[in-house]
């Protein structure tokens, strides 16, 4: 059978093409444009090819924050995913308790990012913050402003406090979608609590966990506001993550070319890792 060619149909997708062009393609191409030029002023710009990329990839500042960034995201996923699943499993399934838990869990998600940073900035202070004060009172030498380990600990704790709810809520909705018959069948088959989790709950949570892992990876990998407010990237550069390094370069130093190259590399890393997560998790069961 011959397919009827109808080129007029292409005009129908034009509005979408325009919309996507202005919202995504044009800004992205601007960045691509900057990343291959050395710009002095509006009229003076030279094509430099891949030079900025070469320079950026060898920049120890970027390399350091990239390593820090991966370590940070690794810990975020390592803590928040299991913790979120655990919280979801422990939540009551009906009655007032369930509604109350949902409200409590939603609260951290509703707080603006810089407010979260401020809350923890105050909370962690040893003089007026409850958390910092409590730690020092029981004899722990804690100071997030001067000790890099304490700073890391506080930033991680803040992220866990802020975002574990998201994973928990996703998992909770996933768990609620499992029909009762599964638990009844498992009980008839004499499955242990662990077996129920391993063979019923976890497989049924797979699809929400893909979303949870992706969201938490992308968000944590692009984290900016909260550590910026809490530690300002310090002490030293110990909590300076990729976004902050990029911002310093682009706005603080106005190195538009290298910053543009940096942005693109950053974007590609997020894209690549997300794709890796997505394909590995969604192909887990096809492997056998």
């Amino acid at each position: 059978m011959n397919k009827v060619e109808n080129n007029k149909a292409w005009f129908l997708v034009l509005p979408v093409v325009l919309l996507v062009a202005f919202s995504a393609v044009v800004p992205l191409m601007t960045v691509v444009n900057y990343s291959v030029q050395d710009i002095f002023d509006v009229n003076t710009a030279y094509f430099v090819g891949a030079e900025w990329y070469r320079e950026i990839l060898q920049d120890p500042r970027l390399q350091d924050s990239l390593v820090r960034q991966f370590i940070f995201s690794f810990f975020v996923l390592l803590i928040e995913i299991p913790l979120g699943i655990a919280v979801a499993l422990m939540m009551p399934t009906k009655g007032r308790g369930a509604s109350l838990c949902l409200i409590l869990l939603a609260i951290p998600l509703l707080i603006p990012l810089n407010v979260v940073g401020t809350i923890w900035q105050v909370f962690g202070r040893t003089d007026i913050g409850l958390f910092g004060w409590a730690l020092t009172s029981i004899g722990i030498d804690y100071n997030y402003a001067s000790n890099p380990i304490d700073a890391w600990f506080t930033v991680l704790l803040m992220d866990v406090w802020h975002w574990t709810s998201l994973v928990a809520l996703l998992c909770y909705s996933g768990l609620r979608a499992i029909p009762d018959a599964y638990y009844q069948a498992a009980s008839i088959d004499r499955a242990s609590g662990w077996a129920i989790f391993r063979y019923i709950q976890l497989p049924k949570l797979q699809s929400v966990l893909v979303i949870g892992v992706l969201l938490r990876f992308m968000d944590s990998f692009m984290i900016y506001t909260e550590p910026f407010v809490l530690t300002g990237g310090g002490p030293g550069n110990s909590t300076t993550f990729l976004s902050q390094t990029l911002t310093q370069m682009a706005i603080g130093q106005f190195d538009v070319g290298p910053a543009a190259a940096f942005s693109l590399i950053y974007f590609l890393i997020v894209l690549l890792v997300s794709w890796l997560f997505f394909t590995t998790i969604s192909h887990l069961d096809k492997a056998k």
Binding site: P179, A181, Y182, Q184, A185, S187, I188, D189, R190, A191, S192, A195, Y199, I200, L202, P203, K204, D285, K288
Partner: protein, 366 residues
């Protein structure tokens, strides 16, 4: 292997039931023999799933006892009662292979792996699942999934009964009969007590030796499919079993029997005597469309009626008749002459049933 005895059993979802209507299961006493195939039949909301869950142990009855081989099991969990259950929607462990699914209950019981292998292969062969044993259970068709969930019950040696909760709901029509036959075959082979919940009378009749027909939380009749058809002991049974259901006509007493709109219907002497002793005025006569005698010409004892509708169902026809404003259905065989406009009907005595307060009354002669 077990005989199931429901002893003065009743169940209500409310804590302090005041009236009958608050009971999902009204008091009943039934014994289900070991090795029998039973169907719990009834419309939606009649309490059949509640009863099944009480037997399986997913629900504890608020009153009375469930006895397995004479032992009270009210407080025992489904696992402790050694029952297996097949649910309406197939329950399989998605992430496991078919083999692991079937082996799951055995492995949970810490059975030796060599025995697990042997048992799983044996059951897979009976269920015709050998070819898919290595496949992920997730990718099976609905009927294969149901077979896997049944297989998980069959692999256990200690299973005393298998309960089915409308297991064919999601199965394609052309596979239903196949799976139903498999169930029957397994029943014969394993000599297990099987209880099958359904709202489909055909499924119930082909599967079960005995059907418990439920209505409003009660088992209104417990008997063979034939008994339910020929001698429905409640108007609901008459109406629910058969397609179309039984014809019922409200009647009043008369000297020689009963009458409606001046038409006299004579009854057996036994029934006649019985009728004189009871005060109730809620009287109905009932006859199956299959047993209504239809003729084109008037014969003795027949009533004249108008033909309102003829429905041709291929091998037989359903004729709707108007008898003094009452609608009556009759089934005509293919070779029978179909009356036009006017017909004469008569009710053979042995098939004409009398219902007082919705329950069948029978004369001494029977």
């Amino acid at each position: 292997m077990a005989e199931i005895h429901l002893k003065t059993l009743a169940h209500s979802y409310s804590a302090n039931p005041q009236s009958d209507t608050e009971y999902a299961i009204r008091e009943m006493d039934h014994v289900w023999d070991q090795g029998g195939a039973y169907a719990l039949l009834g419309p939606s909301g009649c309490g059949k799933s509640t009863l099944l869950n009480i037997i399986s142990g997913l629900l504890s009855p608020s009153e009375g006892e469930v006895l397995f081989d004479g032992q009270r099991v009210n407080e025992l969990s489904p696992a402790e009662r050694n029952i297996a259950q097949v649910f309406q929607f197939p329950v399989i462990y998605d992430s496991m292979t078919v083999f692991d699914n079937l082996a799951f209950p055995l492995r949970n019981m810490k059975v030796r792996e060599s025995k697990v292998q042997k048992k799983v292969l044996e059951i897979a062969e009976i269920l015709e699942l050998q070819d898919v044993l290595k496949n992920k259970a997730k990718n099976l068709t609905a009927d294969e999934k149901q077979k896997v969930s049944m297989g998980r019950g069959l692999v256990r040696d200690d299973v005393s009964a298998i309960l089915f909760d409308e297991p064919l709901t999601v199965i394609d029509p052309h596979l239903k009969w196949k799976l139903r036959r498999k169930l029957k075959q397994i029943h014969e082979q394993f000599n297990l007590t099987m209880v099958y919940v359904t709202h489909d009378q055909l499924e119930a009749a082909t599967f079960a030796d005995k059907i418990a027909l439920m209505y409003g939380g009660q088992i209104v009749q417990f008997g063979t499919p034939r008994e339910l058809f020929e001698k429905p002991n409640h108007t609901f049974v008459g109406y629910f079993i058969g397609s179309p259901g039984m014809n019922f006509i409200e009647v009043k007493r008369s000297e020689s029997g009963v009458e409606f709109d001046g038409l006299k219907v004579s009854l057996d002497e036994g029934l006649q005597d019985f009728l004189e002793q009871i005060p109730s005025s809620n009287l109905k006569i009932g006859i199956r469309p299959e047993f209504v005698h239809v003729s084109v010409e008037s014969i003795t004892g027949s009533y004249e009626c108008a033909v309102t509708h003829v429905e041709d169902l291929g091998t037989y026809k359903i004729v709707t008749l108007d008898l003094k404003g009452r609608s009556l259905k009759a089934r005509l065989d293919e070779d029978q002459q179909v009356p036009e406009h006017k017909a004469y009907v008569s009710f053979p005595k042995q098939w004409l049933k009398l219902y007082v307060d919705e329950y069948l009354v029978e004369g001494d002669s029977e």
